[in-house]
Symmetry: C2
Subunit: 344 residues, 2 copies
DNA sequence: ACCGAAACCGCAAACGTTTGCGGTGAAAAA
DNA sequence: TTTTTCACCGCAAACGTTTGCGGTTTCGGT
């Protein structure tokens, strides 16, 4: 069960010099003669010496590791974010430790404890739908370790950098799009309201309704808490019962949108002729369905990259505390068959 | 940038006793009096002492960390595997460090180096499509650190435990299913042949063809290397040119199957009446499309769990070397509209 | 011949734990 | 009273690095 086991001491003994000299030689310290450096490096190569990062961490108090907590990995958007995180972390010489909270508050606090125990240099977090208590985040800050939120971010009680998309404007322009396609009775399948993103999307939707002076009634906003397929199906059936039946549905996410699609098909209605559907996130399969789903593309990879870049920036600005920044990424409406009223 | 900073020494100084005593008291060592233990634990609680895992690792040579390398995270199947891994790792008190190779050989070897440098206790790997040289895996073994492969596993030159599904039988029963549904000219979109899984699926397909004495010609097997949507589309168009046009296509994976679906629709043919389609992996969206895709469900979560369980077993069987085991998980055919010839 | 400055290197402590071994005091046995 | 036996605790080394400080040479300059 031993690792490679060749240490600086071994090199030193072999060469009849001191460990300090070996250490310095390996890092090209000016105090060491070129000749010695040559010898040391040659031997290190030969015995394939590899520095013990654990020992280095113990001294330097840095692990070159960043911790990531996301609600769930089996989720198209989050998996793209992770991918982005991994990419820049790798390029900057960091490795990532990762946990999923499974949308469970308890697990989330245990995860943060675990990552702190493993002495990650910094943390990247998108918190669970359940999380309303932020004490575990405050604990992180108390220990002075950098923390960046992405996608699901707290309103600014914690002073952390955040990476988000412009949910409000995206939702608003979703309404714009539907109006252009001549759908004027637009309903919304809203997400969990303790998540800022859901609130913003709902708010953007309402803004769009007002801006265009569209018809609206209470029933047009259906709150589907979990936002899964079944909820989308159920909520859409509610919408179909309304006397002023909407002719477009803007869903908080793609999966709920597909629930809506099924409900509409089951009701014998046509998409988009009778009712148009629009999702949010542009999941991989949005282009594979029939009709294809119009959706709002969230730049997941970019978000991951931005979050990681920001965190590493804060990590490496040793002394001076950088003031937190809120970076907002742009989305794109991907127009497909589920809303296109006219010809292809 | 300091962590909580309270150490065993601090506790010792505060209580006027030695660090060794504190250490022992905290681990409930019999040499320490109940009274002292009480005092130590009380103070530890008060100052919220947390053991420095780095220091512990340095002594014990164990990090309680397992490394995972997968081809890509933005992939339904692999994300489910990771999810399973995380779940059991968490339960057993391990955290996971994770890298994606992006199907790139060079990145894969760099990743293994990085994980080894971070002194993970063991590794879980599914290698890239490009990988044909296994030296970096041998290096891991040389260092005597446990390694378990899953899904994409080497043929037994390395002596490692593996977790796979029964690709051969699954493919064979896919053919069985198609025959039952009365599709007797079955083509196959094959995957990259340096991957065992692809070879097995192809072999299982061929076995099915022979068993049922079905019509076959060379052109019925199309090799789509990358196995993505475009390849599936392209290869299917090749199939459509054949004089004895197949009336069923069994694809190596779901995405390719959707490429096939598009090609068939574009050709003005009906699914499954003219040509049935069957995928492999049962991606999330298989039930959301029109028609829904018949596919073979791989138990991703189970695979992840099994792999992690096996690795941890080997990790904790300190001395005696466990002989490698090959665990094969069962799949299920999920029958949907893309192959169902009859009613419903 | 002496001094000063380079150039090169080693000592030892430190990071926070763990642990073998030995030491103390007091109670029990002789 | 002396010895043995406990119960309890501290010393110090070790894990593999890094680094401030000081020590030896060697050499060019006066």
């Amino acid at each position: 069960m031993k690792q490679s086991a060749v240490t600086i001491k071994d090199l030193a003994k072999e060469l009849g010099i001191s460990p300090s000299t070996v250490s310095r030689a390996l890092k090209d310290h000016p105090d060491i003669s070129p000749e010695t450096k040559r010898l040391v490096n040659a031997l290190a190569e030969k015995l394939d010496y590899e520095p013990n990062t654990i020992a280095m961490s113990l001294r330097s108090k840095r692990t070159n590791t960043i911790g990531v907590i996301i609600p769930e990995i089996v989720h198209f958007f989050f998996s793209t974010v992770i991918s982005g995180i991994e990419e820049v972390a790798y390029k900057k010489g960091y490795t990532v430790m990762f946990c999923q909270s499974n949308e469970d508050y308890e697990k989330e606090v245990i995860d943060t404890k675990a990552l702190l125990a493993h002495r990650v240099d910094g943390l990247l977090i998108s918190y669970s739908k359940e999380t309303t208590n932020f004490d575990h985040f405050r604990e992180i800050q108390r220990k002075n370790i950098p923390l960046v939120f992405f996608d699901r971010v707290p309103t600014d009680e914690l002073h952390c950098s955040t990476i988000t998309i412009n949910d409000f404007e995206s939702a608003e322009s979703a309404v714009d799009h539907l109006v252009i396609e001549n759908h004027l009775r637009i309903a919304h399948l809203a997400g969990p309201q303790n998540l800022n993103i859901s609130k913003q999307r709902l708010a953007g939707y309402k803004r769009g309704i007002e801006k265009h002076k569209l018809y609206f009634e209470e029933g047009y906003v259906q709150y589907c808490g979990k936002g899964d397929f079944e909820e989308g199906y159920r909520c859409t059936n509610e919408l179909l019962k309304l006397s002023e039946r909407p002719n477009a549905i803007f869903a908080n996410n793609d999966v709920a949108a597909y629930g809506a699609m099924k409900a509409i098909k089951d009701a014998g209605l046509k998409i988009p002729e009778d009712i148009a559907i629009m999702g949010f996130s542009n999941w991989q399969f949005a282009s594979l369905t029939e009709p294809q789903l119009t959706s709002i593309a969230q730049p997941g990879i970019e978000m991951g990259k931005a979050a990681a870049r920001r965190l590493i920036l804060e990590l490496e600005a040793k002394d001076e505390d950088l003031p937190p920044v809120d970076q907002v990424l742009k989305t794109d409406i991907i127009v497909r068959g589920s809303t296109r009223s006219t010809q292809k």
